[in-house]
Symmetry: C2
Subunit: 370 residues, 2 copies
């Protein structure tokens, strides 16, 4: 390998020191000890981050967002709310392969769960929304989802006196489409579901059963954590569907537009078949699986991931253990409901909010999740 | 699992349709065919993206950046340039475990290669600079790297008449620290090194030897592509060092600050020991390896990665094949020099630039890389 260095460079640099590259001695090298030939398994407690046990939020805004999230009045024909495809009581999705929009229009892709979505680096499978606020604006005006217009949404909300009062109480200067989405996103930010696994991560050795622990170690050992990491056990990166085996060819069908993944958003060749790694929190509740909703059972999903992403033919015992571990990631929905369905909007006449001891104030609240 | 739905929600929603969740039939489900039991290996040509064979750049700005990049006058004592730690002729780094700054101060971390850095999602091992422009500002004023001040850099550049003319010719309104970094980054953007692997990806079946092809398939099959992907074969994500085996414990030493990785930048627990996945382009030239520079040989690096990241005990044949493949990722430095070391600054007296047929114009240029 040779490189031609033009004399002109040196001309310009005359008067200052010579080029620094390639001239420095090696007497200062302090190379760390190389790793041992056989390294110890990593401690999962160093690998994962527990979900918080407490989060802070603005109670007034979240209460408003909660109402809006569940309100079909935001859709063009009053039939669908955010909760239609992201049912908080059922794992944060709709249990369908791909979603149904207004007038029973079939959506192109599996609805991801809204639970713990705040921990995702971006929203939607293709990451086209940078945060929950941006995401919340999408479905309301998507013609095959809620099918409304921004004007419809704003006019509807303005027509409900309780909403008008609630927007004012939450400190919004006016009712705009963006503010509707902001309130909904504020509500979604509270949807955090700590589980027994988090108890384990915090030091409770008895929180997981023997099989769940075996599954946790298998999950690490076979490499699932390469993609499913962070507090949501996913959502921290985009990844190619079919890294080792060709997922799409072996699925046997034609490619859909949705199969192109993040390519649809960026147009970059490198993003073809890249999808945001889905969270595994509450995965027990979010069948069917994958962006195409093609797999109904969690054990099959684990088996296929092992094969197409990791090139591993997992044993039945490994699959069973990993499934047991994944089921330990299910958060308590009862706890969740306590957090996310607030007692009332401040302006609602039937509740004396703020007067009772311990009631959340309009300025802020902090709720223990577990 | 049960969820308490507060009556107040329903009160507010009276008059509009009932809650949409959980109420929609399943008669429209159109589940795609599940994947076959045993899927075919993925075609690497669908997995990787070749580097471009041609890039466009502003020749005047790049020529200026090239000069600045190689100029030790930017350091506090005139001893170090960008090229000192990122020697383009030697793989884009300095061949040291960790770098040496001015006054022989030892740096904390292995210098990453500058080659193909434009394809990284962020710069530095911990991603603390969002792009090359932000990166270029770091080392000049880092006390243990080039040790200068912004004022020193600007004063030095202003003291060189050729620089003053070159900044004006490149269209900069004034010589500022940020503009110096901008010119350097513009030069770095041109450091793209297509290789025989890119010829293969574009359809030249004979571009890789049998062993290199075997290595490419092993690279995919064992899961290296889970992290090393995109045009730079890396730089698209952050990843935990020691996903399956504990890299740091088995290295046998104390943790350094640098070992904390992206945690140093974000302070988030989830980022502890996370590093930007390094590019594998020109990896043959960039020993020693890893953020700590602890491994001198590429085959050892491959072996350790297989173990600590993928939980695989790679066979000697697999290691040899993968190393052969990685060596096919080395770009042509001769070609590179042709691209990146321009004939002269516009104001340099010894070259009649722009008059010769085919010479790049000041407005823009496009160079075939291969």
């Amino acid at each position: 390998m040779s490189v031609r260095v033009t004399p002109l460079l040196l001309t310009l640099l005359s008067g200052s020191a010579a080029l620094g590259a390639c001239q420095r001695g090696s007497e200062h090298d302090a190379t760390p000890t190389p790793v041992a030939a056989t390294a110890e398994p990593v401690d999962p407690r160093t690998l994962f981050e527990p979900l918080p046990t407490e989060i802070e939020y603005d109670a007034t805004t979240v209460a408003l967002g909660n109402q809006l999230y569940h309100d079909p009045g935001l859709s063009v024909d009053g039939t669908l709310s955010c909760a239609s495809c992201h049912n908080i009581a059922a794992g944060g999705d709709d249990g369908r392969a791909t979603s149904l929009g207004v007038r029973d229009q079939a959506g192109p892709i599996n609805a991801p769960t809204v639970l713990n979505a705040r921990y995702h680096l971006a929203q939607f499978w293709d990451g086209r929304a940078e945060d929950l606020h941006a995401q919340a604006m999408g479905p309301m005006t998507n013609p095959i989802e809620m099918g409304a217009t921004e004007e419809h949404v704003v006019a509807y909300v303005q027509s409900v006196p309780d909403y008008v009062a609630a927007f004012e109480a939450a400190g919004y200067e006016e009712i705009t489409f963006s503010n509707v989405a902001h309130a909904i996103a504020s509500f979604e930010e509270t949807l955090v579901t700590p589980s027994r696994f988090d108890d384990y991560l915090r030091g409770d050795d008895g929180a997981l059963s023997e099989q769940e622990l075996a599954g946790m170690h298998a999950f690490v050992e076979v490499g699932c954590t390469g993609c499913h990491q962070g507090p949501a056990m996913g959502g921290t990166m985009f990844q190619k569907m079919g890294l080792v085996r060709d997922y799409f060819a072996s699925r046997g069908g034609e490619l859909t537009d949705a199969d192109l993944g993040r390519f649809n958003h960026t147009g970059e060749e490198r993003d073809r078949h890249q999808f945001k790694v889905p969270t595994l929190r509450n995965v027990e509740l979010t069948a069917p699986y994958f962006h195409d909703g093609s797999v109904a059972e969690l054990d099959d999903a684990v088996r296929i991931m092992g094969e197409v992403q990791l090139g591993r033919d997992l044993s039945e015992a490994e699959v069973a253990d990993i499934v047991a571990f994944l089921e330990a990631l299910t958060g308590s929905a009862m706890t969740l409901a306590d957090v996310t369905i607030p007692p009332a909007l401040p302006a609602a006449p039937s509740v004396d909010q703020g007067e009772e001891p311990g009631a959340p104030t309009a300025e802020g609240a902090s709720v223990e999740l577990k």
